[in-house]
Symmetry: C2
Subunit: 146 residues, 2 copies
């Protein structure tokens, strides 16, 4: 609610985050991956290589499992994920990345690499390293599930 020269750290964190997200989204759309929404992407991003349970996705994305289920439905219809029974627990099902998601990964990774390179160029190697180090340490007390 203020706009003095010293922004609060939260907004300072958010600004580059959103810039990166926008870039990724635009690049994916340009590459033909324009059939999913930001909300779906936030869930998709958290599907692990060996599959992930719905409840776990919901926790990490900080939504209810109903919401996560709804989003996974869309992603499944669009061919980005599959649902398979979890061999270790017959109540559960594992969400796995499908072909279309694996095709999108390199595109997203390339943009992330490109943006990080731009940032490093602007900040300088030293400050970029300091930024990542500080954020990594900060994660210890701000990441509720890790």
């Amino acid at each position: 609610m203020a706009a003095e020269s010293e922004l609060n750290t939260g907004l300072l964190l958010f600004i580059p985050y959103r810039a990166l997200e926008n870039r990724i989204f635009a690049a994916l759309a340009e590459a033909g991956f324009d059939d999913f929404t930001p909300a779906q992407a936030r869930v998709l991003q958290r599907v692990g290589p060996d599959g992930t349970r719905l409840t776990e996705l919901a926790e990490q994305a900080q939504v209810t499992k109903q919401t996560a289920g709804f989003l996974v439905d869309q992603l499944e219809k669009a061919g980005y994920v599959t649902r398979e029974p979890d061999p270790t627990d017959r109540r559960a099902r594992l969400i796995r990345l499908a072909e279309r998601a694996r095709a999108a990964q390199p595109v997203a990774a390339a943009v992330v690499a490109e943006v990080e390179r731009e940032w490093e160029e602007h900040l300088g190697k030293r400050r970029m390293r300091q930024l990542r180090e500080a954020l990594t340490v900060l994660r210890e007390i701000t990441d509720p599930w890790a």
Copy 2:
């Protein structure tokens, strides 16, 4: 879509941002300011001390002006903002903070200060300063409207 030890910088930025936002939201709710939503808060946060036009709020919050108008309607009904004619342009109206928003500000500010103190304690003064400096410089190339 990956979970190696080295997270991409975007996620690293997002984790503490969300942690801070959650803290602010919880504190405001506990203080009785529980009658607004996150989406409304993101708009409210951007109302300047001398009032701000709807279009400007929309740009900064990265939503359409229709969406911003919808959110301002809610905030107005809940007593957080007022709409007044802009003396310099009869098409425009200035959104201004109302009493209830001014009452909430110190609560939010206190939480931000508290969280920043915790972060500084965990990171150390030096790394905290480096973090803020890097983010401030990064803003130069990631903040589209500033």
